[in-house]
């Protein structure tokens, strides 16, 4: 698979001296769905901001599609990497849902029918097609989160970064986001998602990156990262594998990171 982004020896120190990243080496590939987990303050949000130039590495380098991001303007990087913030109110500003969703796509040069199609597809993906004329602040928090996600989807960037997309969502909202993540992957786009929800990560992502104190401590598919042998490493950063994985180990079924894997193993026994 083609490397979409490559981080080599990336470190980052905030201006106040706080070190947020140290020696991060990662290659993110085309069409890959990557979940990043770790405690608050472990460097997850800082890491994903290196990809779209909102933050620049203070050590090492970041390349996107083979091109060093140093010196490339953030507006240029926005064509490649779309980032939905954890807090939707940090990105929402328009007077209607439709104009909010169209803003980023228009900035990337889409016009007319092409813009309408991208906006409509994004609204349908998040289930807000009936709210196009609504003022964003008349939506509840959970739908403002979905609106912020739609604005990023409409930009149709090859890399989509979602910072905590499932917070404030009910079970249906989480399922909707799971479908969106799946369909992005199917169209060959790379999805990088920060989450504290281990079940969501185990079920929707092919690769899990565990961060602690600015470093990557585990990196692999859910079946590896959530295996019993890594339980201690997860616990060292106050995380634990999803219940399905822990139950599978307890019942001697091997590593069953997702609910369906556990039930399959139980049915086959």
């Amino acid at each position: 698979m083609t490397a979409v982004a490559r981080l080599e020896g990336v470190g980052f120190v905030y201006p106040d001296g706080t070190r947020a990243l140290a020696g991060v080496a990662l290659e993110l590939r085309e069409g890959e769905r990557v979940g990043i987990v770790g405690q608050n303050g472990s460097g997850k949000s800082t890491l994903v901001r290196q990809l779209n130039g909102l933050l620049r590495p203070t050590e090492g380098r970041v390349t996107l599609f083979g091109r060093d991001t140093a010196g490339v303007h953030v507006a240029e990087l926005a064509r490649t990497v779309g980032l939905a913030f954890q807090n939707p109110d940090r990105q929402i500003f328009a007077a209607s849902v439709r104009s909010e969703v169209a803003f980023g796509a228009r900035n990337l040069g889409r016009r007319g029918a092409e813009l309408d199609r991208a906006v409509q597809a994004a609204l349908e993906a998040v289930g807000l097609e009936g709210e196009a004329a609504t003022n964003p602040y008349d939506l509840g928090y959970s739908r403002r989160k979905l609106l912020a996600l739609a604005s990023i989807l409409a930009m149709e960037t090859p890399v989509v970064v979602l910072d905590e997309p499932t917070t404030g969502q009910d079970a249906r909202g989480v399922e909707r986001i799971q479908r969106i993540v799946g369909s992005l992957g199917e169209t060959g786009r790379t999805v990088i998602t920060i989450s504290h929800d281990m079940r969501f990560v185990a079920e929707s992502f092919q690769r899990v990156i565990v961060m602690r104190a600015g470093r990557v401590i585990l990196d692999g598919p859910p079946v590896t990262v959530f295996a019993a042998e890594h339980a201690g490493a997860l616990a060292s950063t106050f995380l634990e594998a999803p219940l399905a994985a822990r139950l599978g180990e307890r019942l001697g079924l091997g590593t069953t990171p997702s609910e369906s894997a556990l039930l399959d193993a139980l049915a086959a026994r």
């Binding site: 608050n40 009910d170 470093r215 339980a231 490493a233 995380l239 556990l262 039930l263």
Partner: protein, 302 residues
């Protein structure tokens, strides 16, 4: 219409509830819709009521109404009664309400005063506005920061915190007001699992130690399973199910309405649907077990 939820199993004749919602209907200004449409709830001092429900069920509106901000501060139409320690929010002035109920908004950044230079000053902002003595303010700030284990954030700029840190600071600033009724709208939404457990323990401790009545809206039903004495499932502005936490969280209507049940409930249901045997006792035991960190994998923080 549902009956009142009684979150008090101690006395035969309970005292005046800390919070009572009686036949409450509420609609926002400029709209015709009732976002809350006949809500009856009651929370006694020292008890924790969990509120669960799908997106747009009216949970955040319920918080605004219960804390007396709606309609007093934001307008709208209120029918029925909201009583804080027996005082109707319709009759109370803002100062009286601020002493009777504290609210944590869903978006913690909304909560911060944007005037305080440090986290310490931010948490002191509310108690200072209550006109308390300096020693009392200092005591409350230190206690609130300590309960949430964020003493180290004291000198930091409140506007330069991570989402999770900002949420803990916002919660500390409400806890420092020591209101008899605490209304929390998704207090752990930005927190990692360890931070979520910490908040759960802090809230349980607060309810027990200071007889605070707590209303907490949560999507993390696993947290409510440990924390809440009772739960109410809210949908379309009405209370659909109410009762003991374990019963509400295992109720089929929870899933039908699109609320994520605790992991153990979810797995048991999925196994039943698939028709595979899964020992409930084992599920509960594994769900309750806490893994210990492996010291070999713990490296020093750079």
């Amino acid at each position: 219409m549902s009956e009142a939820i009684v979150v008090n199993a101690v006395n035969d004749a309970p005292p005046t509830p800390a919070l009572l919602l009686d036949g409450v209907r509420y609609g926002y200004a400029g709209t015709r819709r009732w976002v809350l449409d006949g809500v009856n709830l009651e929370v006694a001092a020292g008890r924790v009521l969990g509120i669960v429900g799908p997106n747009e069920a009216g949970k955040s509106t319920l918080c605004l109404v219960a804390a007396g901000l709606a309609p007093a501060a934001i307008g709208g139409r209120l029918e029925g009664d909201v009583l804080l320690g027996g005082l109707s929010t319709r009759d109370a002035n803002p100062h009286q309400m601020a002493q009777r109920a504290g609210i944590l908004f869903q978006n913690p950044v909304t909560q911060l005063s944007a005037t305080a230079p440090t986290v310490y000053e931010e948490v002191a902002f509310g108690p200072r506005n209550l006109g308390l003595a300096v020693d009392e303010i200092a005591d409350r700030v230190e206690h609130a920061l300590g309960a949430l284990r964020i003493e180290a954030l004291g000198p930091r700029d409140p506007m330069r915190l991570s989402g999770g840190q900002a949420q803990l600071v916002a919660l500390a600033s409400v806890v420092a007001l020591r209101p008899p009724v605490l209304v929390l709208d998704e207090p752990t939404s930005q927190l990692d699992p360890a931070g979520t457990r910490l908040v759960g323990e802090a809230l349980a401790g607060l309810a027990a130690a200071t007889a605070t009545a707590i209303v907490v809206v949560e999507h993390k039903t696993w947290l409510l399973a440990d924390l809440a004495d009772a739960c109410a499932l809210v949908a379309d502005g009405r209370v659909v199910v109410h009762g003991a936490t374990a019963d509400v969280l295992a109720d089929d209507r929870l899933v039908e309405l699109g609320v994520e049940p605790p992991p153990a409930v979810r797995l048991r249901r999925a196994a039943a649907v698939r028709g595979v045997a899964l020992d409930s006792a084992v599920v509960d035991a594994v769900a309750a077990a806490r893994l210990a960190a492996d010291p070999d994998t713990v490296e020093p923080v750079p």
